[in-house]
Structure formats: C-alpha cells, structure tokens
C-alpha cells in the first residue's frame, strides 16, 4: 500500500466499486441472516422478500428451549472443545517455536519439516487410526477425543507463525536478561513471551477457529448428539429436517457468532496470521 494516495473522482469510483464487490461477496451471509428471521411461509414466497415482512424469532428461541431444535448445548460443547484445543496448541507451540527461532539443536530442520508437512495432511488419513487409538485410550465419545485431534491442526500452524515473531526479537534483549541472572526458562517466560504476545494471540485465535470449524473429528469421535459440537449438530439437523430453512439458517448464524466477534475485535491479528502463516510457511 505504498502507492500515492488516490483522491478526487478516482477515489470515489474505487470506493463505490469496492463496496459493490463487498456486497456481492458477503451476500450469502446477508441472505442467511435475513432468512433466519423469516417465517417458513415467507421463505417459500416467490418473488423472495428482501427483508422479513413478518419478524420471526422462533428459530432462535427454540435453540435455548428443550427439544429437537436446542443448539445451545452444542454451542457450549463447541466452546469447550475449541478452548481445550486452543490451550494445548498454545502451551505446546510457544516454547517449540522459540526453540526453532533461537537454537540450532540436533534435528531442528527435520522437526521444522515435520510441522510443515502436517499442515498439508488430509483429515481422512488420520481419522481411522485416531478412532482406534481413542477407543483404546477409552476417550472415544468424550470431549477429549476432538480436543486432542483438533490441537494437531493448531500446533503446526502456531509453531510456523510464532517462529517468525521470536526470530524478530533482538538477541540483545535475551542476553541482557542472562547477564541480570535470569535462567533460560525465566528469560523465556518473563521477557520473550510478553514481547511475542501479538504472535501468541494470533496463534490462539487460529487454533480456536480451526477447532470451531471442525466437523470430521467432532462427528467421528463423538457418538452422542448431546456431546457433539455445533457443526456436527447442524449437519445432523440438515439430515433430519433438510428443508426447515428458517431453523437451519438460524443455527448457521448462531454458529458464526464467535467467528464474527473475533473478526470484529481482532481483525488485524487475523490478517497478520493469514499472511505470515501461509507465505513464509
């Protein structure tokens, strides 16, 4: 963005063009939101209405009432699973990325490669072996299974992103701490992690979002609907009530509440995560 600032008529044209593109791109979300507030009858009207003529909030109310349409429980499950996976990923990835950025230990390159390769793994490769493993560990059909599995997505991503943050911290900072009598561990915890905090936040966000979006693990490793995450709940509901679009769209909106909140408050972290994570690898 180092080009000269555009002003006058060109600026107005570009602004209008960009807003039109944005509206087109985000139309699916707008349409889902609008539909979730319509009655089933209105959804089937031709021509379609562009805003709910009769406001229907039943699809949302039903989600916290008892019965088939209750999604609140699944939402809570998703929250627990994603938070768990995020914690594991951050706790393990922060020291690991520091090691890669700062030390030339035995096997460093091989491990770095290992983290890179796991990012490219298709879930299908891991599903059956993990399924067998979790059954043997007696954690099949508990939250633990998707938590442990989801963390394997967050860890490599976080390591690869954070190593760039740690590498950009001047070595002098660390050396000063040693001179003042800090051990390696103290210097790491008290000096380096606080400086790398923006990077740690990026990792936490992405690890959470990856887990939040997961369907395969949650659906395969948990059998009971009451313990399953919201994505599996939605998928299940789609199978049972395929055309109840007023409920389905309302579920979709509820499922993206955390995503939206994270986006609103942490947009800059997300963009930095997307660019650092992928380009530098």
């Amino acid at each position: 963005m180092d080009e000269k600032k555009i002003t006058g008529k060109n600026n107005v044209i570009l602004c209008i063009v960009s807003v039109v593109i944005l509206v087109l791109l985000l139309f699916p979300l707008f349409w889902t939101l609008i539909t979730s507030f319509k009655t089933e009858k209105e959804i089937f009207m031709i021509p379609p209405t562009w805003y709910p003529h009769e406001l229907n909030t039943k699809s949302y109310a039903a989600q916290i009432e008892n019965g088939d349409f209750n999604m609140f429980k699944s939402f809570f499950n998703s929250f627990v699973i994603s938070t768990g996976a995020m914690l594991i990923a951050v706790v393990l990835a922060v020291p690991a990325s520091y090691a890669i950025a700062r030390y030339k230990f035995v096997g460093r390159k091989a491990m770095l490669l290992g983290f890179l390769v796991t990012q490219m793994l298709p879930v299908s490769v891991l599903l059956t072996p993990m399924f067998i493993m979790f059954r043997n560990m007696k954690i099949y059909n508990t939250w633990w299974a998707p938590v442990l599995a989801d963390a394997t997505i967050g860890i490599p991503f976080s390591v690869l992103i954070l190593k760039n943050y740690f590498a950009s911290i001047p070595k002098a900072l660390e050396e000063a701490a040693y001179i003042d009598g800090c051990t390696r561990m103290m210097a790491f915890m008290k000096i380096l992690v606080p400086v790398a905090k923006p990077g740690v936040i990026v990792c936490a966000i992405f690890s959470f979002l990856y887990a939040w979006g997961d369907l395969a693990y949650g659906m395969t490793f948990i059998l009971d609907q009451e313990k399953r995450p919201i994505t599996a709940g939605i998928f299940n509901f789609m199978g049972q009530y395929g055309t109840k679009w007023s409920y389905l769209t309302a579920f979709a909106i509820v499922a993206i509440i955390p995503v939206t909140l994270i986006f609103i408050f942490m947009q800059n972290y997300i963009i930095s995560g997307m660019t650092n994570g992928a380009v530098k690898g």
């Binding site: 000269k4 555009i6 600026n11 570009l14 960009s18 593109i21 791109l25 985000l26 699916p28 979300l29 349409w31 889902t32 031709i46 594991i88 393990l92 690991a96 090691a99 030390y103 230990f105 035995v106 096997g107 460093r108 491990m111 290992g114 890179l116 796991t118 793994l121 298709p122 299908s124 490769v125 891991l126 599903l127 059956t128 072996p129 067998i132 493993m133 599995a149 394997t152 860890i155 590498a167 979002l209 939040w212 979006g213 369907l215 395969a216 994505t231 939605i234 789609m238 679009w245 389905l248 769209t249 979709a252 499922a255 986006f263 947009q267 997300i270 997307m274 992928a278 380009v279 690898g281």
Partner: protein, 299 residues
C-alpha cells in the same frame, strides 16, 4: 548425568523447548500416519477394528480400489474440482488484490471485510450454499430466471452435471480471501519506483502488469497456487455437507469417498487405502511447495 547436562547446555537446550510439541505431534499425527499405512495392507472391518487379529493382504486393497469405478470417478472429480477452484479463486483473488493495492479511502477496511468467508466454519458455508442452490427456494434460480438465463428451476444439487458447479462455487467463495490477501501482500513488496520509471518511459498499465507485476510476483503466485492446490485437493467437510458425494457419486472426492468407505460402509482398510493415495499425491505436491519456500529459509 553430567554428560546429559552437558548435552543440553548450549544449542541443544532448544530440544527441551520443542520436545513437548514434537512428541505430541509424533503420538497424534506421526503414529496415525504409519498406522494408516499399515491398515491399508490389512483386511480390517468392524469385527476386528479394535480387537482381534488383522490379516495382512499385501496390495490387495490397492488393486481393489484401482479397479473400483467409484474410486476412479472420485479421483477425476478431485482433479476437476481442484482445477476449477484454483482457476476461479486465483483470477478473482488477483483482481481484488490489484484493486486493494490502490490507496483509496475504503481500501483497507473493505479488504479486511472480504476476509470473512475464509473464517466461516465449512459446515456453515456448505449450509448457506445448499440453501442458495436449492431448487424451489434457492435465490440463485430466482436471479437466473430474472436475468432470463434459465426458463425453469435448475435442480442444482440433484443433477450430476450441475452439482459439481455448486460445490466449486462454494469453495471458490472460501478461497477468494486467501488468494486476495496473499497476492495483495506480495504486491506491496514490489518497489513503487519501478512503476514510476516505467510510466515515465511511456508504458501503459497493461504493459506494467505484464512486464513488472507478474514477473516480480512470481514467487508469491507459485506459492499461492501450490498451497491452494493442497488445501483444495483435501477439502472434505464442504462437499460432504452439501452433497455427501452425490448425486450418483458425481461430487465424490477422494476425501469424501474415503470417509464413506470407512465410516458408512465400515470397510476401514479400503477407506485407509483411498486416504493414502490422497496423502501420497499431497505429499508430492507438498515437496514442490517446500522447494519453493525453503529457498529463502536457510537460517
């Protein structure tokens, strides 16, 4: 003991920091990869999945799936799906990146907001597109009718030919932000002076794009395409939720077919075999990606 302490003294102290994460990945990713490989050479069904003897059958599973019509179909679909997605998401992403690289008032804000689709849970995206592509209530049919492009409602998701279009459209929607942001970042690294001296020399914008932007952006374009290939080739949830591979296997990808074999038909070994083929292809492409990125990553 003293020797151990000595070993971890200097550079190898890093091992202490990395080992927890590394062991975790070894247990929960490394071991499953190996165990999946073993599974593909065994005959495993519901009966002997957790307990019981698993017989080795050599390459029988591989021979079987290569003779399997659905597998070959899924392989073709996966390639088709990936290539269509790559073309559209790259072209649109590139145009958007060029747009957002201009310094107008809304550039940053709008660029940020276009990232939203990328963050959506795939299940939700699948639901939204399934709704928009549905036959009677679908907004897409309505719009196409208004534009007089179609006479009658198209049964997008229940016709083999059109179901693929619908899943590609949904995946392109997810992929655009990814392409836009990476290409836009790449564009910012091109020195502005190059364009200035080019326009002094009388080069028009098209010539500048061909002679300056594209050649200098080549490393970014390469990694965007290879990464895009990897991410698209293994897409699973999106297609599984939208079509479950149907109608008549017309949207089955290697990933969805593998899932179906393992967890719907309980033919775990065949499912693992399909997954292994998928993995092998990704691995080869992954090597290409490493070759591209590792060049500047020697430290």
């Amino acid at each position: 003991m003293k020797k151990v302490k000595e070993f971890f003294r200097y550079e190898n102290a890093g091992l202490l920091f990395i080992l927890p994460a590394f062991l975790y990945m070894l247990i929960f990713v490394g071991y499953p990869i190996l165990s999946n490989l073993v599974l593909s050479f065994q005959d495993v069904s519901v009966k002997n999945l957790v307990h019981g003897k698993k017989h080795f059958v050599g390459f029988a599973n591989y021979l079987q799936i290569f003779g399997d019509e659905v597998f070959r179909k899924a392989m073709g679909n996966t390639l088709k799906f990936t290539i269509y997605c790559l073309i559209f998401q790259f072209l649109i992403g590139f145009l958007l990146a060029l747009l957002f690289n201009k310094n107008f008032t809304f550039a940053k804000t709008v660029r940020g907001l276009t990232m939203i689709p990328w963050m959506m849970p795939m299940t939700v995206t699948a639901l939204m597109f399934k709704f928009m592509f549905s036959t009677d209530v679908g907004i897409i049919n309505y719009i196409l009718k208004c534009l007089h492009l179609i006479q009658n409602n198209v049964e997008w998701l229940t016709t083999p030919r059109t179901a693929m279009i619908a899943v590609v459209a949904a995946n392109v929607w997810i992929g655009i932000p990814f392409n836009t942001i990476l290409l836009a970042t790449g564009l910012t690294t091109i020195p502005q002076e190059l364009y200035e001296s080019a326009s002094v020399d009388g080069a028009n914008s098209w010539q500048q794009l061909i002679k300056i932007t594209l050649p200098l952006l080549r490393p970014t374009i390469e990694s965007v395409l290879v990464l895009g290939f990897i991410y698209t080739f293994k897409v699973y949830d999106l297609v599984y939720v939208m079509t479950e591979g149907g109608p008549v296997n017309s949207t089955h990808l290697l990933s969805t077919y593998s899932y179906k074999l393992s967890f719907d038909l309980f033919q775990y070994s065949k499912g693992s075999t399909v997954a292994n083929v998928l993995f092998l292809i990704l691995f080869l492409v992954g090597l290409l990606y490493l070759k591209i990125t590792m060049q500047g990553e020697e430290d």
